[in-house]
Amino acid sequence: MSERVAVIGCGQTHHRKVRDDLSMAGLVREAAERALGDAGMDWTDIDAVVIGKAPDPFEGVMMPEVYLADALGCAGKPIMRVHTAGSVGGSTAVVATHLVSSGVRERVLTIGFEKQSEGDTTWGLGGGRSGSVGAGGYFAPHMRAYIDRSGAPDYIGPAVAVKDRRNALKNPYAHLKLENLTIETVMESPYVWEPVRRLESCPTSDGAAAMVLTNERVAGSRNAAWVHGTAIRSELGQFPGRDPVNPQGGRDCAADVYAQAGITDPFNEVDVAEIYVPFSWYEPMWLENLGFAAEGDGWKLVEKGVTDITGELPVNVSGGVLSSNPIGASGMLRFLEVALQVRGLAGEHQIEGAHTGVGHAYGGASQFFAMWVVRSEKP
């Protein structure tokens, strides 16, 4: 009933605040060509493209798949565009996976991108009106609620920020390269959305991520990451009694994907995780939400260095969203990075012996979730 899905190619751009050397078409091609090269394929080998990105007002181009069809070699082929807010990079990869697992297509190129320098992200997040508080302004009260509930000490957020930026120094594609960042420096820096400081917040980046997904026959004997599960969940964003701090949607998404992958003890069975942390406190929050820690204990893993690159459960060794955030690509970068890990291709930030990786993305009012589990072995 269901084909096995292999990730045989991964490619991403050098993420920067402004990629002034490329148009949007050039940006997606840079990532796509790297993915095709990694896969040992050419544009003509692809039979479908699935592209995802965040709201079009960020660049001022409506439905950009229409314009990008040429740059992505799509004449005569199908192209679809997914849009699920911040989780889009992840849900795009999930849609691409379905195309292969269903047997409808055999070789799918999936891309996520954002060229935020072409617009103004804060303006965009505010619906083009005055008074935009950005994503941080919306999430800050939720992070405050987590701190209040868990009793976490105030340096935990800064510790996450320092860890992810230190990891980014080992990732040639990462945007922020902040040498010598310390917890003290972060704690002394100004707030933007109190209790969240600028140095604890994601940058806005231009960037793209791409992967080539195929079925088993096409993958052949290539070095592949095998998809063992995908899950996607949406939750109403605002209703009385909703908990955005430990959202049901995230818990359900994780439970679904773990069940598909046969994971019953995430903390011990997962070797490496890339989870969507755009503001520092979301690492301890999501560690709990995704079942890596009991409720209220996520911050303890951070404090003990468990999520460091040398720890028992390395989280965001790529530098994460805190180091590179082309919004439309960020979710896909999480999925891509764990695929690189289980293929042994993560270079300087490779985790030795990584066989099982979890990629996670979220968006909207912490209401859209997408996850996948990849392994070095076939399901």
Binding site: V133, V192, P195, G241, V245
Partner: protein, 171 residues
């Protein structure tokens, strides 16, 4: 010798008509008269402020027959202090507090409400607040809707609510 063109600034200006739905219009008019209202779902009993015209959890339509009034006072369940980011069209310059407030009688919070009349560092979860209405209802000088009719919220002076009362009401 001129430089090659690297960037072309292209401002896209689109006009949209912002239409207030009938449910939102009635809510806004009642606000102008000094009353905060919501719809109570006939199935689950949740009171939605502002009203949506339906309960998304039970998938039932609601209307004026489900209208209830809530107090213009409540509990601050969480908040942030915003340092405004400057971008084209931004009018905010100074830091300000935005809070989620659980009004007495409502089941969920009204979000991103401005709180003033207290040093920012003293704002806290569980604090009791009351509305500061703008203009004059009788003179017709009050604005419309939640942000037009109410200028901001300020501490009411009542004792703070304990964590059990506010922790499940972040939203």
């Amino acid at each position: 010798m001129s430089e090659p063109v690297q960037f072309v600034s292209q401002k896209v200006d689109l006009d949209y008509k912002v239409v207030t739905s009938p449910v939102a219009r009635r809510f806004a008019e009642l606000m102008r008269a000094g009353r905060i209202t919501g719809h109570k779902c006939p199935v689950c009993g949740r009171v939605y402020v502002p009203p949506k015209g339906f309960c998304p959890l039970d998938a039932v339509i609601t209307d004026e027959s489900n209208e209830v009034e809530v107090r213009d006072a409540g509990t601050l369940t969480s908040f942030t202090v915003i340092t405004p980011i400057q971008y084209q069209g931004q009018e905010e310059k100074e830091e300000y507090v935005l809070a989620n407030i659980l009004l007495d009688g409502a089941s969920g919070t009204v979000g991103q409400q401005r709180v003033e009349g207290i040093p920012h560092k003293d704002v806290r979860m569980g604090m009791r607040v009351k509305a500061v209405w703008g203009g004059d209802a009788d003179e017709g000088s009050r604005g419309w809707g939640l942000t037009g009719a109410i200028k901001h919220w300020e501490p009411s002076g009542e004792p703070d609510e304990p964590r059990e009362k506010y922790q499940d009401h972040v939203l």
